[in-house]
Symmetry: C2
Subunit: 205 residues, 2 copies
Amino acid sequence: MASMPAEKPETRPYHHGDLRSALLAAAERTLRDKGTAASLSLRELARDIGVSHAAPGRHFKDKQALLNALALVGYDRMAEVLEAADDPGLPLQDRLTTLARAYLGFAIDNAELLELMYARKHEPDAAEQIGVAIDRTVGALERAIAAAQQRGEIVDGDPEHLTLVVGTALHGLASFAITGKFTTEAAMGAVPELVHHLLYGLKPR
Amino acid sequence: MASMPAEKPETRPYHHGDLRSALLAAAERTLRDKGTAASLSLRELARDIGVSHAAPGRHFKDKQALLNALALVGYDRMAEVLEAADDPGLPLQDRLTTLARAYLGFAIDNAELLELMYARKHEPDAAEQIGVAIDRTVGALERAIAAAQQRGEIVDGDPEHLTLVVGTALHGLASFAITGKFTTEAAMGAVPELVHHLLYGLKPR
DNA sequence: ACCTGAACACCGTTCAAGT
DNA sequence: ACCTGAACACCGTTCAAGT
């Protein structure tokens, strides 16, 4: 028995419960409401939960530490969404399109969280944790591509490099969608064509 | 004479000069030093420049307004860099690689600014200004692709859609580089292969 | 171990008043 | 028109003290 996934009971009295996850949950809710991490105050969080304003300091050394933890939550949830959406039985193009839609949908529904997730952090330990979280996220994509490659449906080459092509494009599209460059529908609608172009290239065949 | 581009003298006494651009310049410097917009204080900016802490309020209604203006500066500068880097005489693949390198280089050198540029803003007027700025940025890419298309070197289809393929991939790669998923060298090194895959596709020919 | 209360050194924003 | 000074209502963070 290596390590069990952390349990997250849906309801819980925080009067004496575990403040850490209460803070994370409240922070996510507030972030979604206010729309920006700048207008997120530890003191307000503490007030909402009903603890003293100094209490958060026991669980997060910093406001940034809370934000980092929240970003990690986001990565975990995104990985779950992608893993759930992946269907190895599908033909390559459909499989990629499905994954792309799942990623884009998550990104649009969690725009505020995404902003945290994609923020630069220099603190080495947080960066490392986020690194493995990203790898897990990209994992589903990489498996789809490696499988297709073994079937000869994809060009030879390092699967990691090939995954990068699709990964960067999806990431960029999500970013454009979030920034408001596209509507949700336009972004979602662009997915099939994007996947097609990635597979068949911009040069005439 | 429609509208002249704003003049920006390099040196200037701010005691009585134009505070607005002094604030923007100081903000960019501080942003670069501190690394994050959260640790950027209007009061500190005012102190550095030598005006009262209420003075910035005359020029930016909000801290967010300053940040928005700074993002716009970033877009303008990025568009300049891309337009300067574009060489219409180059063969398609080289031309795209050059543009990609220029974009990536700018992104890495101006990571803090990029974070501002790619932040979601709901304020309608700022969003609109940023929209046109993005279009200008993507313009160089779009011209390269449209030209190649007319030469028959690129697949038929809406040039805007085709540009999106390259644009999203570059944007995503820059984002990965900034987040620290790649070193600068790794990201730059990945460019030629990425462009190649975009042109020739992931499916075997 | 976990939380509180008070304290410190800051903030952003507003607004009358000055030049 | 542009800036100042004072004031208001907040912050994040620390630290002794409580339970």
